[in-house]
């Protein structure tokens, strides 16, 4: 049996004897592999970019809602229970390994006033700085409020672009004060534009403040469904104007009947929702499991008792995301296979020509003692060496191509080590598959005929 190293030397010598043709033969593989590498790198870059975009839309977010409160058989509907607290949000962020951040959110719908202008934004959120991380939302001017603003319930707020346009037509809102439900808040930052969300709602129509400010200074209750027109109608009235003669005691001592009829509202430290972000959409089920068990424990729920909260995710989006990536991968695999097939057919073609051209050499080798297996091995090895060589050059070329695409078109690129390893493996496989037939043909030659071949 012939040693591999000898066959390899023989194959290399044979390829060296015709360097130009070897180079041209391998060009098909070079281009094929280069295309695969470039495609995969560009494709993975785009795929990552798409994932990022979809993640921006909220695919990696979970929202925890309080459950329904009920009294005497009358349910108050989802979100009416007052069980979620900001401490729950802190615990979720701290104790759930699959959660990257969690922020409590207190919602409201209130009137904003600045000079002669007023506006009721879609969203008013009281939250923590983690909110901006979860929503992947950056500040374009000024600064975000910090954790000290939250603990101090400072009168600061951050505005979305739409609110800025409505209240500050001249721009420059930073450092100015607006009234939120008649509470003055200083504008310390402006959020970047985000556009509409998937329901078509303008996400920039928002005011964000520390949840403590919202809870304890501005809104007073968890869900304040205040009637704006009545609020507007009450503005500017005072008992002094109605009864100018009477001297008013501003803080009369309430009678016992009054106390019973108008109890001081208890200020629960509850929040409306908790927003949670998860690193990848694949971790969402795990994160939901962890949050459920943590919150049930925190809320002292016994086994069998229904949870007093609900967790919602945007499962449809994650599903679409998965399908998009899969489609992308399949498409790229198809392109890769086609280009490699073409390269492989090129190799087979030239190897067949080579076998015909070198018929006498094959005859001579057989006459001086080469077995059919030796000839088969030599020609397959020649094809594999060509393909490997082409694969190596192709990886370099593909790398160069994707770098050019990155530099010129600014497309995102992601290096892919598996693609490179696979390319080398595929090169060898192509050499084996497409080199086999010519090599088999060579090994079946009759030495007598081959020696006489002109």
């Amino acid at each position: 049996m012939l040693k591999l190293s000898t066959t390899l030397t023989t194959a290399l010598r044979a390829l060296q004897r015709n360097p130009l043709r070897s180079a041209l033969t391998t060009l098909g593989i070079i281009i094929g592999i280069a295309a695969v590498i470039a495609m995969v790198q560009i494709g993975e870059g785009s795929s990552a970019a798409i994932k990022q975009t979809i993640a921006n839309m909220g695919a990696n977010e979970l929202i925890i809602f309080p459950g329904a409160a009920a009294s005497g058989g009358v349910s108050f509907g989802g979100g009416s229970a007052v069980t979620l607290t900001s401490a729950d949000a802190d615990a979720v962020a701290r104790d759930c390994p699959s959660v990257s951040a969690a922020a409590p959110v207190v919602n409201g719908r209130m009137q904003l006033v600045r000079d002669s202008r007023n506006w009721v934004p879609q969203f008013i959120a009281g939250t923590t700085p983690a909110y901006f991380t979860i929503r992947d939302w950056a500040i374009s001017q000024g600064r975000m409020f910090g954790n000290d603003d939250v603990s101090g319930a400072n009168e600061v707020c951050v505005l979305g672009q739409t609110v800025v346009h409505q209240l500050f037509p001249s721009g420059k809102p930073l450092g100015k004060t607006i009234l939120v439900n008649q509470v003055p808040l200083k504008v310390i930052g402006i959020l970047q534009r985000k556009g509409a969300n998937m329901m078509g709602m303008d996400q920039d129509d928002i005011l964000v403040m520390p949840w403590t400010t919202m809870k304890y200074r501005v809104s007073g209750t968890a869900l304040q469904n205040q009637n704006q027109s009545s609020a507007a109608a009450n503005n500017g009235f005072s008992t002094d104007q109605l009864y100018p003669e009477t001297s008013q005691n501003l803080y009369p001592v309430p009678s016992s009947v009054e106390t019973a009829d108008l109890p001081q509202p208890v200020r629960f430290p509850n929040v409306n929702t908790i927003m949670v972000s998860v690193p990848t959409s694949a971790q969402i089920p795990q994160a939901m499991k962890e949050i459920t068990s943590l919150l049930r424990q925190r809320h002292h729920l016994r086994a069998g008792e229904p949870s007093d909260f609900n967790i919602r995710n945007l499962a449809e989006i994650s599903h679409a995301l998965g399908q998009t990536s899969r489609l992308m991968t399949n498409l790229l695999t198809g392109v890769a296979l086609i280009s490699l097939m073409v390269g492989g057919v090129g190799i087979m073609n030239i190897m067949l020509v080579s076998v015909t051209e070198r018929t006498r050499e094959i005859g001579l080798r057989m006459a001086i003692g080469a077995k059919p297996a030796d000839i088969l091995g030599q020609f397959i090895l020649e094809a594999i060496v060509l393909c490997l060589f082409g694969g190596a050059l192709g990886i370099l070329l593909g790398q160069a191509m994707s770098s050019v695409v990155k530099a010129v078109l600014h497309w995102p690129i992601q290096l892919s080590a598996p693609a490179m390893v696979a390319s080398v493996a595929v090169s060898v496989a192509v050499g084996l598959v497409f080199g086999y037939y010519p090599a088999w043909k060579a090994s079946r030659l009759d030495p007598i005929e081959a020696l006489r071949y002109e």
């Binding site: 012939l2 000898t6 023989t10 004897r17 006459a367 001086i368 003692g369 080469a370 007598i448």
Partner: protein
């Protein structure tokens, strides 16, 4: 014991419906150290006989013993090994690999050798052989840089690199002028004399055959002076393919 013994070799080529019998029952033997010429006109079966003797082809029937081994029963791979170890080939058109140095050409048969010899030893032996055939200065030359006579001498060195018992030369001077032919034939005679290598010269040229000790004439598939084998004797081994 004789180096070559063939008995009742018949070779039939299948051509359409009928068969074409090229060899019609040839028997001969060659002693070790002999230098024999095989002569015959074209179409006489000379080349077919040489192919069978060179283990490139198998007889339709009859037996062939080379160096005590029966070749007529061997498989393709076994015959390849026999060719590699026991036979050196010299061809009319040299059959050197183009764009390959003389030394590499001489080394070619060692690539298919089973002998446990290091590459270095092979190289040394190949260089020595090239010196013997007078090409010490041309080891790194490629065939295109060598004259016909020099190319044939490289081919002779190649045929000797595995120490064969039999050197099979098929019209070795067919492509050479008379002066170089003479040189090459003298080289064969010297190899035969000094190293005792058995040489079989296949030729149609009486002048070439005259360099051999014995000439076997073949005509119409039979050796001159031998009767045709009317029927295959019962002892004959019949092989197919």
């Amino acid at each position: 014991m004789e180096l070559i013994r063939i008995s009742n070799i018949v070779k039939t080529y299948q051509l359409g419906a009928g068969g074409l019998q090229v060899l019609k029952g040839v028997s001969l033997s060659i002693q070790p150290g002999e230098m024999v010429a095989l002569m015959g006109a074209s179409g006489s079966g000379k080349t077919t006989l040489m192919n069978i003797l060179g283990c490139l082809d198998r007889p339709t029937s009859g037996r062939y013993f080379l160096d005590g081994e029966e070749i007529s029963r061997m498989s393709v791979n076994q015959r390849a090994l026999v060719r590699n170890e026991k036979i050196g080939f010299v061809f009319q058109n040299f059959n050197l690999l183009a764009r390959t140095t003389a030394l590499e050409n001489v080394l070619l048969p060692t690539a298919y050798s089973d002998a446990p010899v290091s590459g270095k030893t092979h190289r040394q032996r190949a260089a020595d052989l090239l010196k013997q055939v007078g090409l010490a200065e041309r080891m790194d030359h490629e065939p295109s840089q060598l004259s016909g006579g020099q190319q044939q001498r490289v081919a002779i060195a190649r045929s000797l690199v595995n120490n064969p018992k039999l050197l099979l030369a098929d019209e070795p001077t067919g492509n050479l002028d008379s002066r170089t032919s003479e040189e090459v034939l003298e080289m064969f005679q010297e190899l035969n004399r000094t190293k005792g290598i058995t040489i079989l010269l296949v030729t149609h040229d009486a002048n070439v055959a005259a360099h051999a000790q014995r000439t076997i004439h073949i005509r119409d598939g039979l050796i001159d002076g031998q009767p045709p084998a009317a029927e295959a004797p019962p002892s004959a081994v019949t092989t197919t393919g």
